[in-house]
Symmetry: C5
Subunit: 298 residues, 5 copies
């Protein structure tokens, strides 16, 4: 995730890092080249281009704006929901710590350390990294490897721990239901994260918008070259920058758990869980928060 103060005039003009420009520079170059061809052609055969009507471009431009706005809204909603779900993970872990404060240190450790393992495993799972290793760093002996869903296996183990505490009379039925409620929150957050990762925006939808935007930007210079001459480049590139940029940004937000600069800072969120769980366990040396490196929080 990119952390940046409100951009001033210089930022607006020159910022590259955090901008979407690097992701679309190739396509912009293609459109620029097409524009040059269009202007050259218009200078040679001005008659042809005078006939091109602007109406269809206005029509398609408006339709594109409306539909791309819908797609962008959808992708942003996925990204924001992803962040909400990780907030829910943090809330549930804090609840586990709060409602287990009177247990023995060992009993509590068996509750809060696996919670760290859950967060680490979920982050690895969502990023398609080594889920088992991430969990094993916190739960060394856990037999999660053979489970089809290792991160959920951590929750199942936590559930067994709660049942054992209840069976031993360490917590009563009500407290069991309160703590199980926090596990249910973690489980719901996990399944919703999995939904976002495994269910992209329908492919036909993205493809339709990609195609329309591409044809639109490729043909636009031919409509403008007749009247604008070399000035054609300015509006065409601005339009292409806007449409391609929003398209590329939507694509980055569509997968909020990836490693693109605009993706969610799962490392930092996992570290937050770890620090607070270890503090609840009165650990002496807490790991440092994940630092921001060059405006990017990973």
């Amino acid at each position: 995730m990119i952390l940046h103060s409100q951009p001033n005039l210089r930022d607006i003009l020159f910022t590259v890092q955090g901008s979407i420009v690097p992701a679309i520079i190739g396509r912009l170059a293609v459109i620029g080249a097409v524009s040059v061809i269009a202007v050259l052609a218009a200078n040679v055969h001005p008659g042809i281009f005078a006939r091109i009507s602007a109406i269809p471009f206005t029509l398609i431009g408006i339709a594109l704006s409306v539909f791309m706005s819908f797609r962008n809204g959808t992708c942003y909603a996925r990204w924001w929901e992803g962040r909400q779900l990780w907030g829910q993970v943090i809330v549930a872990c804090r609840g586990l710590a709060r409602a287990s404060a009177d247990l023995d240190a060992a009993e509590r450790r068996d509750l809060l350390v696996p919670a760290c393992g859950f967060a680490a495993g979920l982050a690895a799972r969502l990023r398609r990294q080594d889920e088992g290793a991430a969990i094993a760093a916190w739960c060394p002996g856990a037999e999660t490897a053979r489970h089809p869903n290792p991160t959920d296996a951590v929750l199942q183990q936590l559930g067994r721990h709660l049942l054992a505490l209840a069976a031993a009379g360490r917590i009563d039925g009500i407290r069991y239901s309160v703590l199980e409620g926090y596990l249910a929150q973690l489980s719901a957050a996990q399944a919703a994260c999995e939904r976002i990762v495994t269910t992209p925006v329908p492919f036909a939808y993205s493809l339709l918008l990609h195609r329309t935007a591409l044809v639109f930007c490729v043909t636009l210079p031919f409509a403008l070259a007749g009247s604008l001459g070399w000035w054609t480049l300015l509006p065409v590139l601005l339009v292409a920058y806007t449409f391609f940029g929003l398209d590329a940004l939507g694509h980055q937000l569509e997968d909020p758990f990836g490693t693109a600069p605009n993706a969610l800072p799962l490392d930092a969120l996992t570290r937050t869980v770890e620090r607070e769980m270890l503090a609840a366990l009165e650990a002496q040396d807490l790991p440092e928060p994940v630092p921001v490196r060059g405006h990017v929080l990973s």
Copy 2:
């Protein structure tokens, strides 16, 4: 559901599978033919076409964009809600497994195996396949056939099992309420899925948009033929592709539990439930996850 990486330039230009083009190729051909007629007519009687104003097309085009965007947003919301509901099914099944971990193997099997039957029955019900057979594969002796809603009958049977466990003192009242809460989640997910299947977007609405889009695309070439000549084909087909494509895609998403390529992968989701429930029961041979065949997950 179609799983496809971010399309590159070649994909954008040539991808057919996963595209919406096959669903609308007939309508595009009609519009193409009408465009040819319009251009030929404009060449013969240029005077008539010069009078056609572009204003009504801009007006109707904008109105169409706005309303089609609304319909698309609605259909997408149905599709996404369908996926959320199946996520809820998965969460509730995991919760059943977690909160029943200290029961006997047989008691637990009577809880988790019917959960698989519920998922299989729900998938068959939503796809209008043989619901009873899908359930019977997991619950052989279940008398669900005579029930007006066999899938709910599985839940009713699970509810009786919980009441029996409580009556036998195997679980206390609180645990009963926790487990019953997960059944209630399954029931809510089922009823919401049934709502989506049985309640289409109002027919008059779809019909109105179909009609307006068709008349719009059929008359558009006559407005452009006078000034664009044979170039008319390009914008008309692009506009028709966009509007018909979004219309067809909206229609596919409207029924998220169907068997169109963009429909939800109910087979894969059901298999996920089965694998995790069987793993919780410590079954030896888990069924394989449903494979992706040619970018399509069923």
Copy 3:
């Protein structure tokens, strides 16, 4: 509610039933007549009409599209929420059946039969039919007539039944809270349905849109007649069809519990509740589901 397969080309061109055309045919005829007058006048005094600028029509047309889209979205949301609430009624009744499965037959009948009465009473209440009679068909001796809200009186009676069961030790406190939770769901669904029925979209809002749409469609032919001649009729009627049709459809969806063809199928939903409750009571002859008559489910 209209159930219709995806319309094919013939449906798009000729379907009347389920279409919104019958509701707006009068207004369309008026606009057609005005258009004829405009064309005749333009032929007599062509000078006047040449001056009419198209700009204000574009402006107002876009504003109308945006605001009518908002109103339509709002009305659709009311309709869809109405359907969700009836789904909640079904879920809660299923929950009552599930969590009462171990009671005596008589105790259970006193729970599930009034639930049918609740559904029937709610449907009658929302359609402003004879609420008392609908309830009395299921709860003959119920003294609900003098209650200001007979349908809620059924819930109050169910609440007393639960309290009596708890007082008699037939259910413990936890089970009481589970069952009361389902009554609370029914109560919430009822109050939300009442909200939709008693709180229309602000009248000034509908009036403003009606007025703007009418003036827009009445004046549009005068703007087009000068350049389009008799072709004026085509775009004017298409625009009027779109705007009036969406307006009329929005009005139908605004009251989702009415008896318009696009209204929700309360009869069928009530019947679903009845069939499932009677099946839970092991009744022998279940009433048949409500049939679809000519694409309409009532």
Copy 4:
């Protein structure tokens, strides 16, 4: 709240009551006068006006439509949420009645009569009327006057009553939690209503839209007068009616608890609570429902 049947043609043309016209008649007159000046000036100096381009008006008109639609949607959402919250008040009061049905008459009266006081106090608080008096009418001896929030003080008193009932063994812990849950619903509804009343839509936002709409409508006649002559008045007034009307309507809906004709009928909603609570207490003479006076329900 205005209750009116679907407007027919005469209503659309002539209805004043319930219309937004009275609220904007002054501004419309100003715009009309400016239009007259513009036309006169255009007749005197036709050359000046011919130069005015229509492009910026289209641009600003579209932008205004989009942003005003957003503001209107926001204000409508506040209004609708206000109605939902009062529905929640009704549901919670019905729940209090339902879950207290087996208490003594006096115990129950101390629960349900203060609930009426809560509703009356909340209505007065939201309308900035005499909150203390409204509460005292139902809870004569209540020491709510010195509390910073008298309506919440009623809830606090109800909470103490529940705790006393539990301490006296009249209700068990579970029932306490069920009844406390209904108090929590009332408390949440109150706080959300307070949020709507105390947190207007950001002032800078309303001001920006007011200013843009005003300058737009004041300058529009100068753009049209050159070509339309006296016909300028028709589109300008229609545009002004639409934009000012939506602006004024948005402002009315922004404060849903006020006393404007389109505000929510708090009197009627409070009366609904009173009637149902008194009916639950088996009172003989229920107050009449609030009548609709001249299409307005207060």
Copy 5:
């Protein structure tokens, strides 16, 4: 937060305080200067400017409106959610007071005074002020300083207090779960506020809109100067005012917990919590509500 009555005509024309103008006056001056240059250049070389087509400006203007509306809606949603979360804080604190009314004065003080500390700490944390000092003012001896999240440490301490009350038999298990439920609400509100503060709208998105708006407004005068002459200034400044104003306002709402005039009144909200908790503790001298100073509530 700015509290202001509905602006009248004079307010609309002259209000500065609460307006967004001061935040964008610099950019408006730049655009004004560019416009003057454009008009001067158009007077010298009229031929160049006659060629500039209006089509791309309409296109980009519409796209900008649609996307800026999306960004504004998103920022407003953050602001409104922030206010909802503080309403949730108030509701939870009231619930703590209500459900603890029968405890000893000291026991209750240890519950409600830290609740004030929580609210004060959360406000300081969200405004990046001295969180520890804000908490220490209410919880002098609290060892929250070494905790990675001091405000959550207050909640953890409250949780331990509840567990101690339950262990001492002062509250039963059910009451513990009710009170813990209110702590969970506080915790959820805190985490959601932290989410809003730490997760800005994706930077690339803001940058893209800033850039497009700037280039659009800088080039617009060149498109209009040829036909409008010195009148160019009026529409250009109006367009710039609208786009820059909405952009700046969106930026202010994006961080709802800041200290900009349109930010949420955290001081007043915290004071509301303090006053009501102290009133519940029957304190004699309640602090005064935060006054509105010059239309601004801090």
